[in-house]
Symmetry: C2
Amino acid sequence: MKLLCRNLWKIAASFSLALCCYGQTEASRAARSWREKHEPAILAEFSKLLEIPNIARDLPNIERNAELIKSMLERRGVATQLLRIPNAPPVVYGEINTPGATQTFVFYAHYDGQPVDAKQWVSPPFQPAIRENRIWARSSSDDKAAIMSQIVALDALKNEKIALKSNYKFFYEGEEEAGSTHVAEILRKYKNLLGADLWLFCDGPVHQNRQQQIVFGARGSMGINLTVYGPKRELHSGHYGNWAPNPAWTLTHLLASMKDIEGKVLIQDFYKNVESYGPLEKKAIAEFPNLEQALKDELWLNSTEGGSRLEERIGLPALNLRGLESASVGTESRNVIPVTATASLDIRLVKGMDTKVTTARVLAHIRGQGFFVAENREPTEEERKTHSRVVKFALSDGYNAARIAMDHPMALKVVSAIEASRGKVLRLPMSGGSVPMSVFEQELATPLIIVPIANHDNNQHGHNENIRLQNLWDGIETMAALLTM
Amino acid sequence: MKLLCRNLWKIAASFSLALCCYGQTEASRAARSWREKHEPAILAEFSKLLEIPNIARDLPNIERNAELIKSMLERRGVATQLLRIPNAPPVVYGEINTPGATQTFVFYAHYDGQPVDAKQWVSPPFQPAIRENRIWARSSSDDKAAIMSQIVALDALKNEKIALKSNYKFFYEGEEEAGSTHVAEILRKYKNLLGADLWLFCDGPVHQNRQQQIVFGARGSMGINLTVYGPKRELHSGHYGNWAPNPAWTLTHLLASMKDIEGKVLIQDFYKNVESYGPLEKKAIAEFPNLEQALKDELWLNSTEGGSRLEERIGLPALNLRGLESASVGTESRNVIPVTATASLDIRLVKGMDTKVTTARVLAHIRGQGFFVAENREPTEEERKTHSRVVKFALSDGYNAARIAMDHPMALKVVSAIEASRGKVLRLPMSGGSVPMSVFEQELATPLIIVPIANHDNNQHGHNENIRLQNLWDGIETMAALLTM
């Protein structure tokens, strides 16, 4: 830890020199000054948080995360408690009541992370490492960076005795990456605590050109695992090949029937009722720098799905094939007809779509391809013997999209506060990535807006997740602006 | 080892009572009598052989297998040597010269096995276990059982002083499951040793009804791994889903274009020049018991590819999808766009097809689907940036099919010898599984025939490979018949 901090200090010091001249408000100046003087301590505290594994189903470690964050808030004088329902990760909740304040803002972030395939990481996912001016660890960007930047912003404002103007609440969820299955129940149970004028969702990346952006909505999300069944046991592909049906081929045909090679989803009514962007959203997108070619170069891509720019494409629903598995490939290949073949899909929903309706449409499509569907269970021997195409459909709970008007008074207030502190922002009508905004919207009837701080190339959800130090530093100033609006 | 043999003795003893009354020749009576008296010793010796891991690329263990088999033959007075070329598993070669003999037969078997996924096995693949009247271990059926049965048959004939009538050679290969890539070179180098009137390939299973069968040919085999490339790094499926091309979807479409849902291969000219069965082959197939419904029940299948019976279907070429892999599925699913997606294919060829011609047709098909193909290498950054669909095509060496006329004099001699010993046999025009007969046919211009002994439900190539004890016992009698023709 000591060594890490010493090395970092040198890296960070060289970086600070490169900072340019935005930061025009008292709050952002205070945030920068504090951060510049305390980088080693900030990183030491952040590392402690990143060292705790945080996959939502790993409840013992989730509790360790929650307890640590609670103690971090309490050290800043925030009245903190854990909001609990049985068998679910707790929400870390905190409150700052400001005398005379007329408005209340809630900071949302999540402290859980995606699963890790540790052998694919350059440095272990739960041993934070600093290389190339970045911190490498699971959740370094998604989403512990948001929590850390809020806490450091509190320190900075307190040190300079800058008064908060509003009431603030903190709501740190522990199972966002697992689909936020319990959050609605928690919101209902603790509704009386959660009254507010605006929720600030601090999750996701800033723009690819590193400019601060504000996001007015987020796609919804749901996951499906499809397992197609073949013979009861693995068969020799010579002695039975051409006779025994192969579940991997069958799966291939099912998948190909769901989406064409150009990226258009072929499931009937998949796009029905989708709310398209209006003039405000289109204008905001047009103001974005066009990074298409730079992104394609960075990602070694010759072309993209649909052909239009990223900001438009993520305004549409997506059907993504996030994984395939059947028997073995490469040097482990065996000449067999596999017993099963599994595809894992995730769907991104936009406004106008509904998870239940979309589930029904996907199921109807699969049945339309001649499949017997076992929903969320293994098919029986009898079912496999009496149907030629048998698939297990395993649904992960999801949630709908949410999106507020770009000219909502609260949205204008946030844009104004951040622009005063950090300069011109980009306004994205909707994030491609999902946060369970719709659940909050539905339970609390409060507007929500997203203020992300992470770099776009943070590998969130993948191997070697990281956050650029400069994004963390900028994030502290952004949070200071939000804490003084 | 001791314990294993004691338990086995009880199982085997109960089984012997059930043996029925074929075994009309002196040789087969001698084989049975010897075996009944020496089951524990036979199984002890077999276990020693099965304990040595035998994946062809694991050369140190391959050498241990070869040395053990050499010593086993030498103990029976067979003049034995290892036929070697550099960096390849040796062939264990043995000779018995019979004074006055006018004919020479070569027993072919292989001592290497398919790779194992040990965690899928009920008992470890290289710790032979006896359960349910079977021996469970990698290569217990495929193909060390053939070697063991030949060696025990030699013991039995020697004990009863039954004279061999012909010269015999033994040719035990060590890389059949890895595609027999070096066997042609070995055949050329040692051609002078290998003159014969007939090769007896002892590999593969007997019929599903457990009746002895003789097989007049074998499909050829080749393997292909296809890897489709997406973005340079794993991307968050929310922030990039719908924009970044997904290699798993692309692979799905490529695969679906290669074979229709009914099992017909769609690659142009894939079936061109295929030699169909004539009246003799059709008649032989018609004599087979129709086990379609029983097999479907056993394998939990409602229907089969193409709809016609297994014996006919394996007379056609096959394109099998033996594995799929991209990112993760199930509880390990992550919301990502994968970097690559890989499919592993194996092709079974019949007479009239050629591995090189088939390779060219598959390549032409892939290119026809709009792919840039990197053959047997990684595509470069530049290639990925300048082509929308990029695939690595990794070919495993293969070999063609071989098949001899069912009325060939040598074929008639084998049928007659085995029928005298073991009763009526089934005559299969061609095995669905592959042995590199065509390589031998091409290098040596000697006819070949297959005499298998393993049970059909031996899980060869899959997890939990096994041989029924009764199949091993029957195999010894079959080999005794062949050693006295």
